[in-house]
Structures are given as structure tokens and as C-alpha cells.
Symmetry: C2
Subunit: 418 residues, 2 copies
């Protein structure tokens, strides 16, 4: 009988696993609660009004259209029954012979879930549109506000966490204030906006080599970002953030810190790490269940030197491909091979024509790092159409300093109410 392979999650890990399994005789079902694959590395560009949601997303079933052994269903998986080999969704069940769990992670508020309402994170398209709404509304409210102190609070933006997402958000926000909005207002001066980037560790981009962190901090400061390191957030509410003993009045706080694995990991009943990630075997299967694999941000995978494989798209892609190859081996009664992460380097942009890149011995910063980032992200963007549209919008933005998606959509509520 044809083996039933179920893949939960259509992110980088799940999608590359499904594609790599095209040649096997198995029947593959990919289940996701969204109908699209999201190119998460560019999500901050939606949050900062540079790109449209559909520029960085592609329907999973359109991506897998030609793969006859794959079917796609939209469903929200709640639990996994390892004994009965059944995946339970909110509204149905799926039986499997082999399972890949790739449901990813979200941000963690370090035991302060109440902070989320006033400091949204950036993991989904809805998150990105909510951040875009808050940022653009803050400038509109500042234009209407007559009290200088309150105006100041509307024009203060605080980003918590200086990993790649935080750095990219801070750079983009500063550009919006200093360039995009430059001549659009009559009462406020958008260039007076403060963008404050707060990091708990001693430098920005902690996973990068210290010299690149220093260069990133320099480039951020050149863009007008205030960089605050070694600083803990102690309170967040709807009109201020406390960093250590300092209180900053602000109406816009963005959260780019912490990692919390998808809650589905718990239903597996296997050991998890502190962030809720599954401690997988060397072949990415789970203890006692060689037919169940966990990949991507949901998996805690250890390198030979004891360090953790980072939660980035290239790692998820490698894990997806490796797992698909292991499944092909299993179907041929061959033993699985252990996974080895090949670190091809890290890249982060810091606004217009600035960035840092770490390719092992080759370390870049400034324009050339930004150009490398551009080329690589366009190359990996799924879909020819998306590539063309993204290139065009970036070219337009680069030449005009404008951003094309400056729409305040979603909830409507009075700007000036307390």
C-alpha cells in the first residue's frame, strides 16, 4: 500500500521536504492553517510598508500544483497521537505512516504575556499589517496632537530585541521618518522622530562576530537609531516602556525578542528545551519514533561543537531536504543518516544600502553586504512573479525614497482617544 506521509506546516522546512519527496511513490499531504507559504525573512518589509503581503507569499497548492503525489489541505493541527498515528485538526483527522512536524515558532514575552497587546511581534502577515497600522497611525496622531509631550510620545518608536528582525525594523522605521515622510506633514517634523533599539545582551546582532555587531551599531546610529544595549525591559503599557530605571513615553513598541516553539511540540510527549523546541535525534526523528521527524524552528538541533543550529530559513530548508532523503531511505529499508548543518553565512540589512554579512572568513558591511542580501533574497524568493514585483518595488523605493504600501487598514478607531 502507498505510504501516507503527512507534513504539518508549509514553511521553508515543510515545503522543501514536500518538494524533495516528489520522486517517491508515497502519497504526501501537506497541512497548514494558512493557504500560503510565507517568505518570512522579508516580513519586516510588509510591516514597514515597502512590500505587499502577496509579494512575499505564495499559495502552497499553487507551488505544488505540478507535483502529482502531493495534496494540500488547509487545517489547524491541534494534537498528534503518536500511538494511533493520527493528526487531529480543529475540524477533522489525518492518518499517517510517516510524519514531519514543521510548525515553527513564535516570539516569547519572557513570562509577560500581558505585554503582547502593547508590543506586537512579527511572525505572521496579520502581525505585519498590525505593525504597519500602528506605525503609520502614530505619525497621523502626532500631526493632530497639539500637546508637545504627547506629540513626542507618538513620535517615539521602541523596538525590543536587536536580532536581525529588530535591526531591520529599526533601520526601516528610521528611514520612514527621515526620508519617506519628509515633506508629507504640515505641523510635525517627522525627522524629529526617535527610534530606540533595545537589546538585553551587550551588543546588537548577538549571534554575529563582535566586529560586525559594532559595524551594524555604527550604521544604525548613522541612520538616526538610538542603540541601547545591556538593557532589560521591565514594564510595558499603552503609553510607556521602562528600560531598567528609565521610563520612555511612547505609543509604539515593537517586539522582536525571544523564541517560543509552536505549542504542538507539547502534544508529542517528548523532551523539549527551555524554548519549547523538540530535542531531536541526530536524524531529526523523535526518541522512540523513527517515523516522526521534527524540523525547522520547532526542532532543537545540536551541531557537532555543541552549539544550536540557528532558527533561520537556510537551516529549515536543509533539514527539510535531509528529512525527505531520509524518508526515501526508510521506504527502501535503509537506515537514516544524521543531519549536518552547513552554515553558509548570515546577512542582515540596516535600511538603504547598509548591512552586515558574515560568510565565515569573508565578512562584509555597508553597501556590499546590502547588495549581497538583495541578490540572495531575490534569488530565494518563491515564484517568478514575486521576484519581478519585489525587484521593481525595491528599485522604485530606492530611487524615490518612497514606500508603496502606506495604507492604514484593519480596525478603525478614533486617533486621539486616550
Amino acid at each position: 500500500m502507498t505510504k501516507r506521509i503527512v507534513i504539518i506546516g508549509g514553511g521553508f522546512g515543510g515545503l522543501y521536504a514536500a518538494k524533495t519527496l516528489a520522486k517517491t511513490a508515497a502519497s504526501i499531504t501537506i497541512v497548514d492553517r494558512r493557504n500560503y507559504h510565507l517568505f518570512q525573512p522579508l516580513l519586516y518589509q510588509v510591516a514597514t510598508a515597502a512590500l505587499n503581503p502577496s509579494d512575499i507569499a505564495a499559495p502552497i497548492r499553487a507551488v505544488l500544483r505540478k507535483q502529482k503525489n502531493a495534496s494540500v489541505i488547509m487545517g489547524d493541527v491541534q494534537t498528534i497521537d503518536l500511538e494511533k498515528r493520527i493528526v487531529t485538526m480543529a475540524d477533522g483527522e489525518l492518518a499517517y505512516d510517516i510524519l514531519i512536524v514543521a510548525t515553527g515558532a513564535t516570539h516569547s514575552y519572557f513570562n509577560h504575556p500581558e505585554w503582547e497587546a502593547n508590543a506586537p511581534g512579527l511572525k505572521t502577515i496579520e502581525d505585519a499589517l498590525e505593525i504597519r497600522r500602528r506605525v503609520l497611525r502614530a505619525f497621523e496622531a502626532a500631526e493632530r496632537e497639539t500637546d508637545p509631550e504627547r506629540q513626542r510620545a507618538w513620535l517615539t518608536f521602541v523596538i525590543v530585541g536587536a536580532g536581525p528582525t529588530g535591526v531591520e525594523l529599526a533601520g526601516a522605521l528610521s528611514e520612514i521618518a527621515r526620508q519617506t515622510m519628509l515633506r508629507d506633514f504640515r505641523r510635525i517634523n517627522p525627522t524629529s522622530a526617535r527610534v530606540i533599539l533595545v537589546e538585553g545582551k551587550e551588543r546588537v546582532l548577538p549571534p554575529y562576530p563582535p566586529p560586525l555587531s559594532a559595524k551594524a551599531a555604527d550604521q544604525l546610529r548613522t541612520l538616526g537609531v538610538e542603540v541601547v544595549t545591556n538593557a532589560q525591559v521591565t514594564r510595558i503599557n499603552d503609553h510607556e516602556v521602562c528600560i531598567g530605571d528609565t521610563t520612555i513615553p511612547t505609543r509604539t513598541i515593537l517586539w522582536a525578542a525571544g523564541v517560543q516553539a509552536s505549542p504542538i511540540a507539547k502534544s508529542l510527549g517528548v523532551p523539549l528545551d527551555r524554548a519549547g523546541r523538540v530535542l531531536v535525534e541526530p536524524d531529526l526523528s523523535i526518541p522512540g519514533h523513527p517515523e516522526v521527524f521534527v524540523i525547522g524552528d520547532l526542532a532543537a538541533v545540536t551541531n557537532d561543537d555543541g552549539s544550536l543550529v540557528p532558527g533561520v530559513a537556510p537551516a529549515a530548508i536543509q533539514e527539510g531536504i535531509h528529512t525527505a532523503e531520509n524518508i526515501a531511505r526508510l521506504l527502501n529499508y535503509q537506515p537514516p543518516l544524521p543531519f549536518r548543518y552547513r552554515d553558509k553565512g548570515s546577512l542582515a540589512t540596516i535600511g538603504r544600502a547598509a548591512g552586515v554579512a558574515d560568510f565565515g572568513r569573508l565578512k562584509l558591511s555597508g553597501f556590499i553586504a546590502w547588495a549581497a542580501w538583495l541578490a540572495i533574497h531575490i534569488f530565494f524568493l518563491i515564484g517568478f512573479r514575486n521576484r519581478v514585483l519585489v525587484i521593481l518595488q525595491w528599485a522604485w523605493a530606492y530611487l524615490t525614497y518612497q514606500r508603496g504600501a502606506r495604507l492604514i487598514t484593519g480596525k478603525t478607531e478614533p486617533l486621539m482617544k486616550e
Copy 2:
């Protein structure tokens, strides 16, 4: 003292009025509850996943950036006090010397407001995204449904109202089912979807000459749309629509009928027509208040032959420009001139390479009408960037039969729950 001109609404009427007033010495404030001008004639393309919201919207303050006598504020106007000459927003007030009210209209449910939840209309970007969500989810739910009758209901789409919006929606939905989705599903055959267009009057596109209505109906049928005329909707709920005595099981009903003026008209205390539109004077001012003008879909403007000026973008634009010119005359102590609508023709598309156009003696249908529609809509689209992106996306869609914005965003809820 500089005269204060307040314009409520940044649609076609308000925006063209503001631009035409650039040369006057007055100070202009344009207030809108949105931060963007929406190119409403293309909204159905967002609802049917062909374009992105920001392709058809531009920030009002970016459009008016260089016009030094204009400022833009985001605010939701609730009432107008004609005696005190004050406009009251949800969160503040604006004083005026001269006022232009251009808040437009929405759809009317003909005394059945309870139908709205199950038959959303199409006036805002949020409406368009909600329609897109429902249409795309219906195909996903049909793929998961095992009961053939329920599957049939998920694959039945009913559009109420066969004006231009209804006709355009019906044509686009039929194309989605027959072309875009063609090879994307494994269990359902998307081409078996029914698209039913219901019209109360005796023919589709009632304002067009009868021969063009007949051609439009032919083109719709060629696309697979079932056209039902002389038919009244008598009941709508979450699983069916009743048309006369016939009950059609369906999970997706779209509303494209009726016109209801913005409720702000009532606060003027002047005579309104049945749809709530303001019965304006020949110069578009309101009775007894030569300093207050009502334009666009909010105004009931009568042609010399007694017919009503249609609620279309070209009429709103002409009214906006005419009112701005009248205001310049008022500021020079000259009497205002009466408004005369110059009908330049009507155009509607019916999907890929089909449409009808009525330019008086010149009547077109099929490919040439569609090409005219394309050229005119691109020409009038606000912003160079939007034009380029829309052309590209249309070209891509034309060549590949694909639609770029096939994302189910917004509310997440189980697909298969009752």
C-alpha cells in the same frame, strides 16, 4: 484673513476639488477617516485576488505633498453644524468658512440589514479582503468536504446585483474557478463551480443600452456564469439564498446591489432623496448655504433631462473640479456657475478580454471594449508606481491565467465547522 476650506472625504470628488484649489489663497484641510485615496473602480480586482490593496490606493498626504496650501488630517467626521460652521469628528473639531462634503455612499440592503453578515458588499479595502477570504476559503473547504451536497454548496457563488460591480465580480469568479484554480486541487474539480448572477431588473447592466446588456449577458454565459434576471432575493442566511421561490444552497453570497448615502447627509438637515443623497442646488451647494457643497456619490444631481447623474468616478471628478472653480469665484465675489455633467461614456469588463463600452454613438463589446477599459483605467490610476505595478500584474495574469494575491488573511477559524 485666509479662508478655511474644509473637504470631508478623500475620494475622487474631494481629491480633485483639493487639487483644483491649489492656486487659491485659501487654506485647505482635507479630512478622511482613511489615510489613503482608494481607486474604487478596481476594488473588485482586490476582492478577486488579482491586485494588492496598495496597488489601487495612495496615501492622501503623499498625493498632496507638494500642494503647500493643503493639509491632510485623519479623522472620522460624525456631524456638521451649519450654523456654527463646525465639523465634529469622533475626536475633535474643525472650523470652516467653506465646506465640501464628499463622503460617498455604501451599498443598501433594502431594509434587510441582517443580510450583510452573510452577503458582504464591496466598498472598502477591508470589504475586498473579506470577499477574497470567503471565496478562496470556499474552495479550500470544498476540497476537504466529503459530503457531495455540502461540497456543491461550497462551490456555489451567488452575486446579487448585475450592475458593473456585480458583472465584474461574476466574470472574475468564473475565471478563478475555470482557469486560475484549474490544476490546484486533487479532489474537487474547480471548473464545476457555479457562479450565479442575480438581477432584480429585466437585464444585466441596467443603465446601459439594451443591445450592450444583451452582449454582456452573452459574454457572461460564455464564461460559465448563470445569469438570472427579473429575480428578487427573498431570504439570505449562512447556507442558502432564496431567489423568488427557488432556494439555492450556497456558502458564498456577495452583495453588489443598492446605494445608500453616507449617514453624514442627515446631519445637514436638508432634503434628501430615497437613497439618502442630498438634493443639491444647480451649483452643487445646499439650500440656504451657498458656502456648503455636496459632491460625488453623496449628492443627487439632476441632468437637464431630469435623469440623475450616475454615481461613477468621472461624475465625482467633474463635480470636484467644478466646485473648486465655483469656490475660486466665490472668493472673488463672483456668482457660482451651475454644474453640467458631461457623460464621456461607460465601460464595464467581464473577465479576460471581454467587456462592453458605451460612448454614445460608439458602442463596443468584446476584446476592444476590454482594451479600452484597460487603457482608461491605467491612465486614471493615481501614481506612476501604481500604474507600472498594475500593468505588470495584469500582463502576468493575462499570460499565465494566474492571480497574484491568493492569500486567505484575517480571521482564522476552522474551515469545516457548521
